[in-house]
């Protein structure tokens, strides 16, 4: 059992929790994830590790309460326990000196980008971060990202804060103005796809963190199959980081929707239980 030590609502329906997990906290590196199961009937879902503090033996997770599992997770309070948490899984992001790096974060992608930006800055890179969301209320971790970036650019789809537009609009301009050595993009698959399309003709290496459906997270089931460079990869053990220019985005977007109908049924069953 894994105790929730801290809980914060970062934005409407977006939560940050700190969970006691000593072994995972000791080993975790930026880019890795855990699989959690909220309760005895729960499903296993992957969540990227946002931060890890070995001194208080905990890890930080950020999630959006959109499905049954994340809504159940959101209903837990400090002191409550989740039944299972396993990790750290996946390969860590390769941290080294690249030169000038643009970190692109969309929505809750801000959370996993944070430790990567921090380590890249420590590794003496010049870190430019673009943080985008639909609107001002949904921007998260702005202060944290500011602290670990040399520059922070904000975009909102509705123009309520920062630049009016998408993260790719800001990216295009920054690429024009700077000689960029690496782009790292984390966010919704569709955002990562468009970021990769912007950087590909410019031949800027682009790392993305893929988020397909997973079950065990150790390579055993193959639910998380993605195609990269026309080869099938298991995201949980071969990734989650891949070269964005080689990813078959349409396949990922399609496979993320396998259980759309079932997700609706699951949500209905949750609200029935509540009422």
């Amino acid at each position: 059992m894994f105790e929730i030590l801290k809980k914060e609502e970062l934005a409407p329906e977006i939560y940050l929790i700190e969970v006691k997990a000593e072994e995972v906290a000791k080993k975790a590196l930026p880019g890795q994830f855990v699989i959690i199961r909220v309760d005895e009937v729960g499903e296993r879902i992957p969540l990227t590790i946002v931060d890890f503090k070995s001194q208080n033996k905990s890890i930080t997770l950020v999630f959006q309460a959109v499905g049954k599992t994340t809504k159940k997770l959101a209903s837990l309070k400090v002191g409550d326990k989740i039944v299972d948490l396993v990790g750290p899984l996946g390969k860590p992001t390769e941290i080294k000196k690249y030169g000038k790096v643009i970190c692109v974060a969309g929505g809750i992608g801000a959370a996993p980008i944070f430790p990567i930006a921090r380590e890249l800055k420590r590794a003496k890179n010049y870190v430019i971060t673009i943080l985008g969301a639909r609107s001002k209320e949904l921007l998260i971790l702005e202060g944290n990202l500011l602290a670990v970036s040399h520059e922070l650019h904000i975009t909102t789809d509705d123009g309520s804060k920062g630049r009016h537009g998408l993260v790719t609009d800001a990216l295009k301009e920054l690429i024009k103005e700077n000689k960029v050595d690496l782009v790292i993009a984390i966010g919704p698959a569709i955002m990562m796809k468009f970021v990769s399309e912007v950087t590909k003709p410019e031949k800027i290496k682009t790392i993305v963190s893929l988020n397909p459906i997973m079950v065990d997270g150790t390579g055993m089931c193959g639910a998380c199959r993605v195609e990269v460079g026309e080869k099938t990869k298991f995201c949980c053990v071969d990734g989650p980081d891949f070269d964005g220019h080689l990813v078959d985005w349409n396949l990922l977007l399609s496979r993320q929707k396998v259980y759309l109908e079932e997700e609706k049924i699951a949500l209905e069953s949750l609200s029935e239980k509540a009422s």
Partner: protein, 466 residues
């Protein structure tokens, strides 16, 4: 032997079963088990051979005539104790061992008649003990102060743990998933091996002092070197075969295509058949094709039926004769309405147009010359392509070694396929590290993994007694 010769029933005492049309509507166990009367009647068929060739056919050397003798006498508790001297998982083995290729194959009676139903009797006495609440622990000797880490809680790991705890070792099993049991829990379906049976046999081990830590991926959460440096004097690796194989054909990543591992894990471990009471979903296909011919393929096909499929095809590239599955399971699947399409190979999986599976294009095969396994190699017949309309495909063509643990364990030698190399007693190339089961041999049976566990346990004891 002066008493007059009794007429021996040439046939095994049949095991009551759920009717096919009833059982495909539920996930309850198909075979219902012997009654006391059935068990005694079957035991009385045993010739109690002095030489007992059956024992030689058992990878863990259960004293079969001795336990059957107790069944004859109606002392079922003594019978199960006799089995447990050698096999700590009798309720599981009684259900899933391929007895027809092991003990029963060598049964003297089998030369003339049907052999003794050893597996059914093993299951009966184990169930009797459990259902009557009479399970007793073994006397465990004084702790010898030596700690052994067992990685993986499948059949080989459980056997190592059981054997060593009986000798006074302090055993901790590390399991990556959230429930112990390995393939017994995620792979073999409820209707063949009820999970409460597995749980009870694992609880028995825990009662004897075995500790189990779930949610630990050795190689990620902790490494073997750390285990050896911290507190463990020896490590046993029994992590199973791991990664599912795919065919490498067009369309294999379409929605609705599952590996058997994923399909069965969702249903068995995650209980997707009880969705939405349980949160994990599964696609319930109307027309399902399962590719493969082993037990896992049959388990997948029969699971698909129980999930409500109207049609389940099992597509196998060789003929019925070459199927590696248990004959009994093949018969069960046939009775339940699985449609077998032999000598057929999928060429590509076709989309319905929206990212979902719509059909498989297959090609007919004929059997050519024998290959390295001695089975005749299937060869495609050109121009024989045909289309099978399906909405779910399950690929059950085997597994390969998972590199996750070996890649973080320097000094662990592997063979060219990535399986761990061991010597005849289960030692790996790394000091203090032993291995057994599917991660050494590739996919095999529960009992062979248990046999490997037994061998390794002996070697570990010898290594730590020096």
């Amino acid at each position: 032997m002066a008493e007059k010769k009794k007429e021996i029933n040439p046939k095994k005492t049949p095991m009551p079963e759920q009717e096919p049309l009833v059982r495909i509507e539920n996930f309850n166990e198909v075979a219902l088990g012997y009654s006391v009367k059935n068990a005694i009647a079957e035991a009385e068929r045993c010739l109690s051979c002095k030489k007992a060739p059956c024992v030689g056919g058992c990878p863990v050397e259960v004293d079969i005539p001795a336990f059957i003798q107790f069944v004859k006498e109606g002392d079922f508790l003594k019978a199960v104790k006799k089995i447990k001297e050698k096999n700590i998982l009798p309720a599981i083995c009684g259900r899933v061992c391929p007895q027809e290729d092991q003990c029963e194959k060598y049964c003297t009676l089998g030369k003339k008649y049907e052999p003794i139903a050893i597996g059914r009797l093993e299951r009966f006495v184990a169930d009797f003990e459990r259902e009557k609440g009479l399970v007793e622990g073994f006397e465990v000797p004084k702790p010898n102060g030596k700690k052994v880490a067992v990685i993986g809680s499948g059949p080989s790991g459980l056997t190592v743990a059981g054997d060593l705890v009986k000798l006074g070792y302090d055993i901790t099993i590390f399991e990556a998933l959230h429930k112990p049991g390995g393939v017994l829990v995620y792979g073999i379906p409820e209707f063949r091996l009820p999970k409460k049976v597995v749980q009870a046999e694992i609880e028995f081990l825990q009662k004897m002092g075995v500790k189990i830590q779930t949610d630990v991926v050795v190689g990620k959460t902790v490494t073997i070197d750390e285990l050896l440096n911290q507190e463990y004097q020896a490590v046993f690796i029994g992590i199973g075969a791991g990664l599912p194989l795919f065919m490498g054909i067009e369309g294999e990543n379409l929605n609705g295509v599952y590996s058997a591992n994923e399909f069965l894990t969702r249903v068995n471990l995650m209980k997707a058949y009880l969705f939405p009471e349980y949160d994990t979903p599964i696609k319930r296909g109307e027309k399902v094709a399962v590719v493969g011919g082993g037990n896992v393929a049959l388990d997948s096909a029969r699971t698909a039926l129980r999930l409500g499929a109207k049609k389940v095809y099992l597509v196998y590239r060789r003929s019925e004769k070459e199927m590696p599955c248990r004959h009994e399971e093949f018969e069960h699947a046939k009775e339940e309405g699985v449609e077998f399409i032999f000598l057929t190979l999928p060429k590509r999986i076709l989309s319905r147009g929206n990212g979902w599976v719509g059909a498989i294009e297959c090609i007919k095969m004929i059997l050519g010359e024998p290959d390295e396994t001695g089975r005749r190699r299937p060869v495609p017949v050109s121009g024989s392509e045909f289309i099978l309309d399906v909405d779910v495909v399950v690929v059950a063509i085997g597994t390969r070694a998972n590199p996750l643990l070996p890649s973080t364990t320097p000094g662990l030698r592997l063979n060219e396929k990535g399986y761990i190399k061991i010597n005849e007693i289960g030692r790996t190339s790394k000091k203090g590290v032993f291995a057994g089961g599917d991660i050494v041999t590739g996919s095999a049976t529960v009992i062979s993994a248990m046999g490997a566990g037994r061998t390794a346990a002996r070697a570990i004891d010898e290594y730590l007694s020096k």
